[in-house]
Symmetry: C2
Subunit: 424 residues, 2 copies
C-alpha cells in the first residue's frame, strides 16, 4: 500500500467501478492468487483472494465466524435455499472451493471479473452491481439436514445429531415451496441489487450442480435518531430485535450462538444453527385490532417499544410486575412473556417482506422472514414450543415456511467455505 | 412559522417521530383543516392538509401534476392495482376525498394520526413508518378501463376513447394475476417500508370499498459518481432510462407526457397514461450469452452504457453509422434501434423486482416492473409493436403482466384526487 496516500483516499467508499481503476494502478492491498481469477470458473482449483479492509462499507469475509451472523443487520436480504444435484462429496467440496474467492471478491465490492471485455464469451460477472459499492454485503453459508441423507455424498456419519428438520409446531401451515433445502446462502447488504447479485452469481457458478429450492427477499428500515440507527419495526409496527444478545459480548455469544468444543460434532465448533421461518402476517386482521390489544399481544408499547407500563425501549421487562388487583401488568399470554418463560435465548436477525398478494385470499402476502442463530436448534424449539398454542400473536400470523441450516465456523485465509465439514 | 429558527432547523430531515414532537410546539407550517384529522375515517368529509416543504426529503403532493411522474425516480416502489366494489360514483368520489389528506400527510412524513394513544380502538395509522422520514414518498393515482365498464358507477360517458386494455403483443404471455385493475396506486420512496406503509394505509382506509387485484414491489440501485446519482442498471446489467425525456424541459414534457387541451377528454388535461408491464427476465439464459451478443441485443455497451462503438452513455446513438463493409454498427434488430424506428417517445420509470422463484421452472422470478408515462397509449403501443417479433431482447424476456391507467392531472390545494373526473 502506498503510504503516501492520505487516509481519506482509502477510507472512502470505493465502488466496483473505481476499484477496477485503482487496482490497475496497484495501490490497493488486494492480493490475488497466482492462478488468477479468470481461470476459476474453468478449473477445479481455487484462488486466494483477501478481504480489502480499505473499503469502508465492507464486512470481512475471513475470520473466526462467518459474516452475516454477528454482523450489524443490514437493510436488505436475499435468502436462497438450494438443493444440490452433484453426485459426490468431492464435487460438492469443489463447489465450495469455487464459491470462496467469488464470495470474497463480491464482499470487497468487486466484480468476479473486471472489466468484462471479451465479446465472444459470456462475461464472468453478471454486471448489475457495476458501479455499486460493497454495501456491507455479508454471505452466510449453511447445510441442511437433507444434505446428509444423500447417500451419494457419504456425509451421513458426520451429521450433527441435533441437525434435524424442525418439529411441527402448533398452528404451523407450512408450504414446501418455502421450506427446507440442502444448502443456504444468506446474502444481506444495504443495497437490494448487491444482495441479489451475490446470490445470482454464486448460483450461476454452480450451474449444473444445484437447483433453487426457494428464495425470499426482505428489508429492514431503520429509524435514525442523532445519527444512530434505531431498532427497526416489523410490519406490525413493533420494534423487532429488542433484547437480542449483545454481539460484542464474547461470553454471551459463546453461551447463545457459537458452538463450543464438545457441544456438537468437531466440524461445527465455532459455527451455529440458522433457523428461517417465513411468517405471513395477517395485516388486515391486525389493523382492525385495538391498540391496547396489540400491545397486550406483544407485551410492549407500540410506538416506544417499552415494556407495558414503562416508557423506554430498553427498560427492564420485569415480568413479575402486577397491578393493584394483583394482575400481571405484562399479560402472561403475551409474546414476550411466553418467550421469556424458557431460559433459552437466540440471536434474531429478521427482515420484513412484501411479496405481492396471496392469490387465494387477496390479502397482502407480507410478513417476516424470521431468522435466528443459536448454537443448538433446541433453543429455538423450546422458545417456539413455549409460544405454542397460547401466544396471543398466533391469531395474527401463520408460519408458512421453515428451514434449518448448520452454518460452518468462520473461514480462515487460505481455507474455503465448509472446509471443516469436508475434512471431517 | 417562527422566523427566529435558523434555516438548518427546518431543512434537516424531520422524521415522523420528531414531526410529532415539533408540531406539538406549533412551529411547523403545517395547516390542518378545522375538522381535524381524527374524524376523517369516521366522516364522509375531507380535510385540507398542506404540503410541508420544510421537510427536505419530501415531494410535493399538490401541484400541476401528480407526484411520481416527473419526480426523480426513487429507490423503491410498491405498486398496487385495485378493483373497486363500491356501488355508486358518489361512494367512489368519497373514497378519493378520504384518501387525499392521508396521502398528503404520509408524503409529509407524518402518520395519519399521531400519536396513537387510545388503547380501546384500532390506531388510525398502522405505525410501521413511525420514526422513518418522508423518504421522498410519491403517490400516483390512476383509473383503468374496467372502471368505466361498471355501469353502477355511471362513468361510461366520460371514458377517454383511448383508454382501452392494451392490445395483445407478439410473445405476450400475460397472467391475469399481474394484469389490469380498476385503479392504481403507485407508491415510490427511498425506503421500502415507507412505500408499503402508504399503500397499506390507503387500502385500509378503503376497507369494504376495494379489493387488491395485484401488487408488486421493486427497487432501483443507483451507482454514485462524484455525489451524483447515475442511471441505474436493470438485472441484465444494462443502464435503464438513458434517453428519457428531460423532465425539466416543459415543452418536451408537453409533447410526450402531459395531455394538452383538445387531446383527450377535458378531465384528463394535465394528466397522462401509465403503462405497467411485469417483464420476467430469463436471467439464466441471458447469463449464458456472450457479452458481444448481449450488447448487440441492446445496441449499447454493457458497462459504459454507450451506444455500440462509442464510449460514453450520453454519446449520440447515430443509428445510421456503418462499418467498412456498410453494415450498421448498431444492429437493426437491437432493442434500441427498433425502439427508435418510430417517432413516438415516452417517459420510462421502471424498477427491478426479485420475487422468489418461478415454481413451475425453478428459475428466478426476477425482472423489470416496466412503467412508462405517455400522453397517448398509442405511443407505448407503437414502440412495443416496433419491437414486435424482431426485437433480439424477446428471446430473454417474457411479458407476464400488463395494465394501463389514466392518471389524473395534478391536485390543487383544496381539491382532492380525481376531482376532475367526478366533476366531468
Amino acid at each position: 500500500m502506498d503510504t503516501k496516500q492520505p487516509d481519506s483516499f482509502f477510507k472512502k467508499k470505493i465502488s466496483r467501478r473505481k476499484m477496477l481503476k485503482y487496482s490497475g494502478a496497484g495501490i490497493l492491498g488486494v492480493v490475488i492468487g497466482a492462478t488468477g481469477l479468470g481461470s476459476i470458473a474453468n478449473t477445479l482449483g481455487y484462488s486466494i483472494v483477501e478481504d480489502d479492509m480499505t473499503v469502508t462499507d465492507k464486512i470481512p469475509f475471513f475470520g473466526k465466524s462467518q459474516s452475516g451472523i454477528k454482523t450489524e443487520v443490514q437493510k436488505h436480504i436475499y435468502f436462497a435455499s438450494i438443493n444440490v444435484i452433484v453426485q459426490s462429496k468431492t464435487e460438492l467440496e469443489q463447489l465450495f472451493k469455487e464459491w470462496t474467492p467469488l464470495a470474497v471478491r463480491m464482499m470487497n465490492g468487486q466484480q468476479i471479473e473486471e472489466p468484462a471485455t471479451n465479446a465472444y464469451i459470456a462475461a464472468k460477472d453478471t454486471g448489475e452491481a457495476v458501479g455499486l459499492s460493497a454495501s456491507n454485503l455479508s454471505l452466510t453459508f449453511g447445510v441442511g439436514p437433507s444434505l446428509f441423507r444423500k447417500s451419494e455424498l457419504g456425509l451421513e456419519r458426520v451429521k450433527p445429531k441435533e441437525l434435524e428438520k424442525l418439529p411441527h409446531f402448533p398452528k404451523d401451515q407450512l408450504d414446501d415451496s418455502y421450506s427446507d433445502g440442502d444448502l443456504c446462502i444468506q446474502a444481506c447488504a444495504d443495497d437490494p441489487q448487491v444482495a441479489f447479485h451475490a446470490v445470482r452469481n454464486l448460483i450461476r457458478a454452480a450451474s449444473g450442480k444445484v437447483t433453487l429450492k426457494w428464495t425470499q427477499a426482505g428489508f429492514n428500515s431503520f429509524p435514525v435518531n442523532n445519527n444512530k440507527k434505531q431498532t427497526p419495526r416489523n410490519l406490525f409496527a413493533f420494534k423487532d430485535g429488542t433484547g437480542n444478545p449483545n454481539v460484542k459480548n464474547t461470553s454471551e455469544m459463546k453461551d447463545i450462538v457459537w458452538i463450543q468444543p464438545g457441544e456438537s460434532v468437531p466440524w461445527m465448533v465455532g459455527g451455529t444453527y440458522l433457523v428461517a421461518r417465513r411468517i405471513q402476517m395477517h395485516l388486515e386482521t391486525w389493523d382492525r385490532t385495538a391498540l391496547g390489544e396489540q400491545e397486550a399481544t406483544f407485551g410492549r408499547h407500540r410506538d416506544s417499544g417499552a415494556p407495558i407500563g414503562k416508557t423506554k425501549e430498553l427498560d427492564d421487562m420485569e415480568l413479575t410486575r402486577t397491578d393493584s388487583a394483583g394482575k400481571p401488568i405484562v399479560p402472561i399470554t403475551s409474546h414476550v412473556h411466553l418467550a421469556k418463560q424458557v431460559k433459552d435465548r437466540m440471536l434474531r436477525r429478521s427482515f420484513s417482506y412484501s411479496s405481492g398478494i396471496d392469490p387465494k385470499t387477496g390479502v397482502f402476502d407480507s410478513g417476516l422472514l424470521f431468522i435466528s442463530f443459536q448454537k443448538q436448534p433446541k433453543q429455538f424449539i423450546n422458545i417456539q414450543n413455549s409460544l405454542g398454542r397460547v401466544d396471543k400473536l398466533n391469531e395474527y400470523i401463520t408460519h408458512r415456511g421453515s428451514a434449518i441450516f448448520a452454518c460452518f465456523p468462520g473461514i480462515q485465509k487460505g481455507s474455503y467455505i465448509g472446509e471443516t465439514l469436508f475434512k471431517a
